[in-house]
Symmetry: C2
Subunit: 312 residues, 2 copies
């Protein structure tokens, strides 16, 4: 584990959703459990650095703030509580967990969400824009002063419906995290290598392509790619939040480094994969809440055994 205390703390400002999820998988059900992109992201990133959440919840969220963020390196002063109900989402996964159907999405208090960055956080050196409307992502960038590193997530929904707004945001993003079908769709190009080059030309020099159970592919600043498989797991209970947890481990580690060279980016991918591999082992954020730094370290080294080979 990197040394994450002392002079090298680069706090991350993270905007996204904090939600209640209801989830059905072939292995069980969970009803009205804590979810949301900012939630998974912040818990994962807080293993490496300080995280400042910008999000909104309803009055029904109550003691969950303390339950999931308490005792962690998470600053919740940007987490607004307003009258009404918290964002709710319900999804159901298919037999092999690779397909998922949304049963409902109730935006609730999120419908009026206007990100307001606390004055003390506007100079945050690292910014994470969770998968929300590109206009909200832009409003966050407009409120912060010259961050060293801006990372963003997006999805096909915004690629289809708000391409202009998304294009504007992408110009201001250093690292874009999206899944492979979305990368192809955004670039209008079936070949993933060519698609990656086209997305890079839109702004983000580092593109992290998430492939679910098949791992991650990242463009490298110096050309070429870095690829990591997902850790093969015997018990995958709930894939919800895996992508946001990956983003948290990835960006948390990068923020804790001084450099963002090829070697640091590669390690960041493995830390992201490590955190994500734990997230799916239980419903909601349950596994992350009982995760230890020692477990993170052990699984990080297991990734080396999984992928390294010698040249003779």
């Amino acid at each position: 584990m990197p040394k994450a205390s002392g002079d090298h703390v680069n706090p991350i400002l993270a905007v996204g959703s904090v939600a209640f999820d209801s989830i059905k998988t072939p292995f069980g059900e969970a009803s009205r459990v804590v979810g949301g992109s900012a939630t998974y992201f912040a818990i994962a990133a807080s293993f490496f650095t300080d995280v400042r959440i910008v999000a909104v919840v309803g009055e029904d969220f109550g003691a969950n703030v303390e339950k999931v963020f308490g005792g962690r390196r998470v600053d919740v002063s940007g987490l607004e509580t307003i009258p009404g109900e918290t964002f709710r989402w319900k999804g159901e996964y298919g037999f092999d967990l690779n397909s998922r159907e949304t049963i409902y999405t109730h935006l609730n208090v999120f419908e009026q969400f206007k990100p307001k960055i606390p004055a003390a956080h506007t100079s945050s050196p690292v910014v994470f824009l969770g998968n929300i409307h590109p206009t909200l992502q832009k409003e966050v960038l407009d409120q912060v002063q010259k961050p060293r590193l801006v990372a963003a997530d997006t999805m096909n929904y915004w690629i289809d419906r708000t391409p202009e707004e998304l294009t504007q945001v992408l110009k201001r993003v250093d690292v874009l995290l999206i899944n492979d079908s979305e990368a192809r769709e955004l670039a209008k190009e079936a070949n993933l290598v060519k698609a990656a080059r086209k997305v890079q030309a839109m702004g983000p020099q580092t593109l992290v392509i998430k492939r679910g159970e098949h791992g991650v592919l990242m463009t490298r600043p110096g050309g070429g790619f870095f690829a990591a498989p997902a850790m093969p797991l015997e018990d995958v209970f709930d894939p919800t939040g895996a992508g946001d947890t990956f983003a948290g481990g990835f960006l948390g580690y990068l923020a804790s480094c001084e450099a963002t060279d090829d070697a640091a980016l590669a390690r960041a991918i493995i830390y992201g994969s490590t955190l994500a591999s734990f997230a799916v082992e239980d419903f909601s954020v349950d596994r992350l809440l009982r995760l230890t730094k020692e477990e993170v370290h052990t699984r990080f080294t297991e990734f080396k055994k999984l992928t390294h080979f010698d040249i003779v």
Copy 2:
């Protein structure tokens, strides 16, 4: 590249199809070009060791034997030519090359194929059973004397139609190469880790799970897994034969080693992935026919850049 000459030559006996393929991809068409599992396998494996083909062609195959195998470490004394037409297959690939439709399969002379192992080849130390009827695979094993290593390929067609015969063959196989959906089907288990354990219990201690553009996952004799991504390629013209080419690079390298420990198996996966990454760059075996050992070496080292990271 390993030293593949001298005392350490372990020839591979390879049974499979030699065929004419007609292929349509989004990038072009090729009509009546050389294909077949034994063809791709043998060319790839011959970069590392001697290969002895057991297969059948019709009289129409003619000068193609010399064209594809001539000047290589491929012994064609077990390649029968009989009256009639060569096996013909026609397939068409979808937009992203991940889906493929078979337009026709004409077995032709392959319908009467009875593998006959030349007497001089019955003591081959390494045997590759290409993706053919399990009863034919068994007939090959019945004709050879205690091979050091037996590898086999199969597919959903045989898992569905000849499960009994396949089960009998699997008991005599050390390495099974199949794709991920087939591994799940064979084990009747959605989770790939559990599926792999079940398939190992059927016989093959080493299971190589092919995931197409997502790379390969291999069980390790000592427990755990080894995973390799596919090389990200800008120009994929024709995925036909990629799996057989992978098998050729994998088993060819293993045969050229004295050991089959974890480290050798990991390198074999990378050599297989390397050869497969070239096969798809052109139609038929065209790219493999003009491939050099230097190119193989260069791409092998590129795989290290693609996958390795440091622990700090």
